[in-house]
């Protein structure tokens, strides 16, 4: 299944050209762009691993794409990678835009719905990613 998290995730995957334009938009707004990756796609997994530090002081999107490609080389085959743009304006101090820029090369197995019977006839629902059934080093591999 296709994981839909962050902006644009219901659209077809963005091309590098489209990603570049989004990055430039972030830079032009003075947002710091960070690269993050994970192989745990659970929607409540908010804090992904960071690839180096968030980048500010960069004038052109090519600088960030350069780093994204370095991250793809290492993690691209079996991780999700996203870009997050942080606005440090006083009062905002939060992420303004975040979108997926890379998906694992193998189809995501999706989520299992778990029903837990509690307190007589009540049921608690929870989701679990099939991918996380495996240890981290074995996920998203054929």
């Amino acid at each position: 299944m296709k994981i839909t998290q962050g902006t644009f995730s219901f659209l077809p995957d963005l091309t590098d050209e489209q990603i570049t334009k989004q990055i430039q938009y972030c830079i032009d707004n003075d947002w710091a762009v960070g690269i993050e990756f994970t192989n745990d796609p659970h929607p409540r997994n908010t804090y992904w691993e960071m690839w180096d530090l968030p980048m500010f002081d960069i004038r052109d999107a090519a600088g960030i794409l350069y780093e994204l490609n370095a991250c793809r080389k290492v993690y691209g085959d079996n991780h999700y990678i996203r870009l997050s743009a942080f606005d440090n304006t006083h009062g905002w101090e939060s992420i303004k835009l975040s979108f997926i820029v890379n998906r694992p090369k193998v189809e995501d197995p999706g989520f299992r719905l778990v029903r837990q019977e509690v307190d007589g006839r009540s049921i608690r629902y929870t989701t679990q990613a099939y991918s996380t059934d495996k240890p981290s080093s074995e996920r998203y591999r054929d």
Partner: protein, 297 residues
């Protein structure tokens, strides 16, 4: 979409603001005739190349990496800034900023430190121009474990793969740069434009001095013309002479002496002329004028 069939170079020249940058260059910089000529030529070449691109006659992004060679203070950094602006107007870099670095900004202190440091700088420079002053210090043949080698490798890669993302200018002394190029053929083949910066003549330095004073709203007093000329001639004889930079430093000291001189006048009213004129005495006390020319060994 209609196909473009013709291209008016003169219109593009004026509309893009390229003319403006070149005019500024000619006006603001004293002397440097060969440099100015080379830059005009480069601008024409690039403009024609754009026209050819528009008419589908050419697809390849020309290599724009350059080397600026010449002694210190001959205007290499100053011209590089203009060059960045020019390339931006011509549409060859997207932002047109200049990132100025030396070996220390690129080379790390320990294993694993160099690559991220160099990449950090490259990322900042993307969309603009990376100016590496005294670039040959990246290469230390006497030390085979020198981390400079790592910088060179990353740099060569980026100069090749990211031609349309950034332009690299290598700067420094001509003879050292020559040696650097001959021991690093990778650079030689990637650097297409070589511009040589000649030393300034005494007259040019004098003109530069007047201009620098004017920029700070100072004027040279009539009684100081001769002594400034003498100062320039003598300063050239001294070790570590750095062309226009030495003149800038000399003027800074003259301005300091003028302030002292005015202050020591005590309780008097000073007018605008008093406050802006650099006089004979402001140079007379200079160490440079007192020194004898160094004897040749």
């Amino acid at each position: 979409m209609s196909e473009i069939k013709s291209f008016n170079l003169q219109k593009a020249f004026e509309a893009s603001g390229v003319k403006e940058v070149l005019d500024e260059l000619d006006r603001d910089l004293i002397g440097l005739l060969p440099v100015k000529t080379r830059i005009h030529e480069t601008a024409s070449l690039l403009l024609v190349n754009k026209a050819r691109e528009e008419l589908n006659l050419s697809k390849i992004q020309p290599s724009l990496h350059m080397s600026f060679t010449g002694n210190p203070g001959t205007g290499k950094t100053t011209v590089a800034m203009r060059m960045a602006k020019l390339l931006y107007r011509l549409g060859y870099v997207r932002k047109g900023h200049l990132v100025l670095v030396t070996r220390d900004d690129l080379v790390g202190q320990y294993i694993g430190h160099t690559a991220p440091k160099t990449k950090e700088i490259l990322k900042k420079a993307m969309g603009g121009v990376l100016f590496i002053d005294e670039a040959y210090y990246l290469y230390r043949p006497e030390n085979e474990r020198d981390y400079g080698q790592e910088v060179i490798e990353i740099l060569l890669q980026v100069m090749e793969d990211h031609r349309d993302d950034l332009v690299v200018i290598l700067a420094g002394y001509a003879d050292k740069m020559d040696k650097f190029f001959s021991s690093n053929p990778g650079f030689r083949s990637r650097v297409a434009h070589h511009i040589d910066f000649p030393d300034y003549s005494d007259d040019e330095l004098f003109e530069i001095a007047i201009k620098m004073l004017k920029e700070q709203n100072y004027v040279l007093g009539d009684n100081a013309v001769t002594i400034l000329k003498e100062y320039i001639a003598k300063r050239r004889e001294q070790p570590h002479f750095a062309n226009a930079r030495s003149i800038r430093n000399g003027l800074d000291r003259a301005i300091l002496r003028q302030a002292n001189r005015l202050f020591n006048k005590g309780d008097v009213e000073l007018n605008a002329k008093d406050l802006s004129e650099i006089d004979y005495e402001d140079f007379a006390l200079s160490r440079v004028l007192k020194s004898k020319p160094p004897t040749q060994p």
